[in-house]
Subunit: 343 residues, 2 copies
Amino acid sequence: MSDGTLAHPMGRPTLEEVARVAGVSRATVSRVINGSPRVSADVLAVVEKAIAELDYVPNRAARSLVARATMSIALVVPEDAHRFFGDPYFADVVQGISDRLDDSDYVLNLQLTHPSSPSEKTKRYLLGGNVDGALVVSHHSGDHFLASLGRSLPVVFGGRPLGDVANPGDYYIDVDNRAGARRGVEHLVARGRRTIATITGPADMPASVDRELGWRDALTAAGLDAGRVARGDFTEAGGIRATLALVDAHPDLDALFVASDLMASGALLALEERGLRVPDDVAIVGFDDSPYATRGKVGLTTIAQPAQQMGVVMADTLLRLLAGENPPHVTTLDTHLVERDSA
Amino acid sequence: MSDGTLAHPMGRPTLEEVARVAGVSRATVSRVINGSPRVSADVLAVVEKAIAELDYVPNRAARSLVARATMSIALVVPEDAHRFFGDPYFADVVQGISDRLDDSDYVLNLQLTHPSSPSEKTKRYLLGGNVDGALVVSHHSGDHFLASLGRSLPVVFGGRPLGDVANPGDYYIDVDNRAGARRGVEHLVARGRRTIATITGPADMPASVDRELGWRDALTAAGLDAGRVARGDFTEAGGIRATLALVDAHPDLDALFVASDLMASGALLALEERGLRVPDDVAIVGFDDSPYATRGKVGLTTIAQPAQQMGVVMADTLLRLLAGENPPHVTTLDTHLVERDSA
């Protein structure tokens, strides 16, 4: 679907060409496409490389003759169970997807895969006709497999694919992370804060990158320094570590923009540990408006993002693709500021 | 597998008999067994009823000719996303299952289904050759579908199937909930507590039933009254409601045995709301030793259960069944008391 529709242009590469480039038989390519468990990891890699090079798209009509519809949709989450269960963001997205699929004939097939990239067996499973389509969240920019999955079956991403692995034909639902972050930092500036650091998520995730850009936008517009950055990992422990590093390196810090409420919850603990008051000494703005925003001693001012709505729209977009419709390639959801006590 | 092995006794019912009893064609029964999406819900129900009545087990060798191995294992969780993500017990079980499957060729296919019983589409999916086996947790006693799933494919339960839907050939991993609960209540009795209420989980779940029995065992052995019971639902909000009801009905209450840490976390909040001190006025023992045991103002004394280990053993047992081995039908894991400040 790199051309963005279910129809394919004339002159597309054939299965025979894939076999020739890969140096294997036609039957072997067919086995890879149909996910036979009898393909070795080496052969799988060679054939996948050839498929990627040629931008080969299996003929859906031909496939449907050998592989019946599974009536199942994968949700691929390249995170370990600890992080998946630890961040309420995922619960909201899954709830939204489930709600939308309840009105369909499809079941949800949740695939927790290894952080950063799926294992070989998961790749084989997803390419093997076991699901009719896939939803992908929490993907990382280095993951070429997930980025190219849209060549083999209908895929909708939650959050735009990043960098060199993005394809023009990708379908994705995103949150306006950059504008949301900018709004949060503008709020801190309006409250008179001048030395505003940020705690980001991993550098290979679009939500991290965009929220950092929004933080930078607001500081630049206000003529303030945008040099205080600590890298977090979207966990509470990571928020604690990053905050301790920031306050120790920058004793003049008077505000923090933190890229998730879970990390901001860690920031609250770390500031308490250092004897700093929130918001008197250090003001905080988080991101999510998750249950963590109201769980600590100080209510978090935060940027609310519609995670459940993202799940609904992701599922809806995929169902439309599976029904042969042409949904928009990109849907962007808005955020808004929720004021509490921390800023 | 109602006879408890992968081999079947002679004279077992045939597909033809199922068709005769159901009043449908042989091809229709075959479609049901192979999960064709073209079977109506009515026909599915009639054929499933006939399969259950005859205790029919599809011939595995014959099936493998038409349905290749999927190399995937379902984890069926009949809970909504809110409860699944809200209780750290599930995160631990999933982590354990994932850890064990990492060393296998199988992928984990997580199926969140409707509370109390899977939807028709999920039933069809599970019976339709889309998974090679299933793990089931958080099942409820009224769920005849999940209880009979073991007739159609290898199934391992986390927690024993309850009551009239239990089959002698079931495979399950359980925690010694009754002994654990008894140990927790004995601890309260040893601390001089005399009016000890309990907050249970749902009445249709084995963990709830067994923990209530253990509470009763300890009170009976100590000659104390076992009349103070409030029904909870394994959520924090349910723990708050049940605690308020108990302290309002029984002002002399001096201790609570709560069947999960998440509910006990709610109990702490409710007691604070009523101005009661923990443990001075009311002592609490929870169950799980989850992160909630250490999250509140007062550390919870609790019965630790090995949830991650349960996941590991469930997956291991299913892998052994899939490999044609004969693992034990029942494995029971031990619990132990963890003392903190609440009792």
